[in-house]
């Protein structure tokens, strides 16, 4: 099996990965460049762009907005996702399949279409754009991810474990908090992280929905790029990568820890 064909596949794979990750590596590398033009050749190692970043009010404001938006999106999406999963998996709901499809649909519909649709809908209702509506938009397209993850886990939690808890005297509410939720926790955590990182990264929907004067990190970067390619953007990119890659990894580690506790 170690013929030239195999070697070619290997080389091709490496090329694909290089094509995907080299640009990202370049951004990270250049964010430490001492040159004031954000391009090669590098003239020395410096943290000056990170310092400038931390002093840029517009960026800091965008950062706070993004964090708040991401956190709220995660909280609301996860809560709704868990409740919807419980209803769909544990109870007979009329029109179950239709509801399920509708909730998952935002993944399938192109984001631009979704963005325009929501915007037109708000116009139709004569509602002005606002932060809560931006939040609502983010919840709509992060909810499917939470739902899929939580539903998959919930199906694997045996009903008789809950029945055992109830037979021993736990009310349905106590059963949920004592048994179902702890067993569901890895999925809840994963869902919340998905929702946060997707919201934190999003630009398409956000551009359509954000009220005037509010910027998230991606829209701020987009706005800055119109003027010039400042090395600050490289630094900001590095920070974004750290958050969107680091958080899920952290979540994964925590989920693994929870699983280990119940004695694998």
């Amino acid at each position: 099996m170690r013929g030239w064909g195999w070697q070619a596949i290997r080389a091709w794979t490496l090329l694909v990965y290089a094509f995907m990750f080299l640009p990202i590596a370049v951004v990270v590398l250049l964010s430490f460049n001492a040159n004031q033009f954000g391009s090669f050749p590098m003239t020395g190692f410096s943290l000056q762009w990170f310092v400038e970043l931390s002093q840029n009010d517009a960026i800091l404001r965008a950062f706070r907005t993004s964090l708040l938006l991401g956190a709220l999106t995660a909280a609301i999406s996860t809560t709704l996702g868990v409740l919807a999963s419980l209803a769909l998996v544990r109870y007979r709901v009329p029109g179950e399949n239709i509801i399920s499809t509708m909730l998952i649909a935002p993944i399938l519909v192109p984001e631009v279409v979704l963005a325009v649709a929501l915007l037109l809908f708000l116009n139709f209702l004569s509602l002005p754009k606002s932060f809560p509506l931006l939040l609502m938009g983010h919840v709509i397209f992060t909810l499917p991810f939470v739902l899929l993850v939580v539903q998959a886990r919930l199906v694997s939690i045996r009903r008789d474990v809950e029945e055992a808890a109830m037979s021993l005297g736990a009310s349905p509410m106590q059963t949920f908090f004592q048994i179902t939720l702890p067993l569901l926790m890895p999925a809840v955590l994963a869902g919340a992280l998905f929702a946060f990182t997707i919201s934190f990264d999003d630009i398409t929907g956000t551009l359509f929905w954000k009220p005037g004067g509010v910027e998230t990190v991606p829209t701020q970067i987009f706005a800055m790029l119109r003027n010039s390619i400042s090395p600050e953007i490289n630094a900001l990119g590095t920070v974004m990568i750290l958050i969107t890659v680091g958080l899920p990894l952290l979540g994964l580690a925590i989920a693994r820890k929870i699983n280990q506790k119940s004695g694998a």
Binding site: A165, L168, G169, S171, I179, S262, G263
Partner: protein
């Protein structure tokens, strides 16, 4: 402690009737088995007693109190499930203590009762482990400890042995019966395994297709089956059509074409009427094969030819043709089994027979 009763209970799912009108009574401390094939309604009955299903009609009573509207968590029941249903994220001790948290029990008493329950199921040192670290049999013992530590009014066992290996199953069966005897709790046991039912029960309720076929002690349902279904479900039986010629208080005389006139004790043929059709029930274990020329006193003997030999180790199951009829016999092996095609004579005692009225 407690009695359980079902009064004219019916359970329908949509247009499908899972349990037809059923009335049952279980005495205090009794071990009652609901026995039948899958889909016979035994688990449905158990789940209605548990409060996991609502009966469509009728009442469920514990200690004479109607409990239809009492939710499961207020019924004070111990349930043991087929797949153990232990809480995987809690230690064994936390699992066993779970039910006590919802009862007015001090911390010290809780620890003491958990310790005693673990002693009772012979796993005293397992408290700190997680369920995954235990074998299937051990997990089922913990599930039992968790169910009895709350001193339930009724213990419900939903095929608790079915997920275990064959050898372990027999050990657990003895163990389960020992514990039930010791604490004397009224127990409802659901199984499809006739040997479990015969070995453990005070009373067996044989069910089929949502109907109760027969209620009786293990000996009653085994020796005097009330229907063809019961005769076949509890072990293997030969059922032969015949006509009842005479009947009085002590015996009935049934003419069976293949066998001639057979006298059956009245107690084993309560439903047979003179002049009417009857079905003779001859258990496969009671039909003994012998060499062609062997003759015995006070037995009926007929000739036959072995058609199929199903070797089972300590016993053999034979299918033997006699005239137009195929008969089953399950015999212990003496030296070596009879061979296929061998002519034999078949013996049985008349008093081992039972009879059913024609339907």
């Amino acid at each position: 402690m407690s009695t359980v009763a079902l009064e004219n209970v019916v359970k329908r799912f949509g247009t499908f009737t899972a349990v037809h009108q059923t009335s049952l009574e279980m005495d205090d401390g009794e071990f009652v088995t609901l026995l039948g094939p899958s889909g016979c309604g035994k688990t449905t009955n158990l789940r209605m007693i548990a409060g996991l299903l609502d009966p469509t009609e009728g009442n469920i009573l514990i200690n004479g109190q109607r409990i239809n509207d009492v939710p499961i968590h207020k019924r004070n029941l111990g349930i043991v499930f087929q797949n153990y249903a232990l809480f995987p994220h809690k230690t064994v001790a936390e699992n066993v203590a779970f039910g006590l948290k919802y009862r007015d029990v001090s911390r010290a008493e809780m620890e003491e009762r958990v310790r005693r329950a673990l002693d009772l199921v012979q796993l005293p040192d397992s408290g700190a482990k997680y369920p995954k670290a235990l074998s299937g049999g051990q997990q089922q013992r913990i599930a039992l400890a968790r169910a009895i530590v709350i001193e339930p009014s009724v213990l419900l066992l939903d095929e608790p042995l079915s997920a275990l290996d064959a050898n372990l199953r027999e050990d657990m069966r003895i163990e389960l019966k020992r514990i039930q005897d010791r604490i004397g709790v009224t127990t409802v046991f659901v199984t499809h395994d006739q040997s479990e039912a015969l070995a453990m029960s005070d009373k067996i309720v044989v069910m089929s297709a949502g109907h109760v076929e027969q209620v009786g002690t293990p000996e009653e349902v085994y020796n005097a089956p009330g229907s063809e279904f019961v005769a076949n479900f509890l072990g293997a039986s030969n059922i032969l059509d015949g006509t009842c010629e005479q009947a009085d208080g002590t015996a009935v005389l049934i003419d069976v074409p293949l066998l001639g006139r057979i006298t059956v004790p009245r107690a084993k043929a309560p439903a047979v009427r003179p002049g009417a059709g009857a079905k003779l029930v001859l258990r496969a274990e009671k039909l003994v094969l012998a060499g062609e020329d062997a003759r015995k006193e006070d037995t009926i003997s007929i000739p036959g030819v072995v058609e199929t030999v199903d070797y089972q180790g300590q016993a053999v199951r034979y299918f033997v043709r006699s005239g137009e009829t195929q008969l089953q016999a399950i015999n212990m092996i003496d030296e070596r089994p009879f061979a296929k095609g061998q002519p034999v004579s078949l013996h049985f005692r008349q008093r081992d027979c039972a009879a059913l009225g024609a339907e």
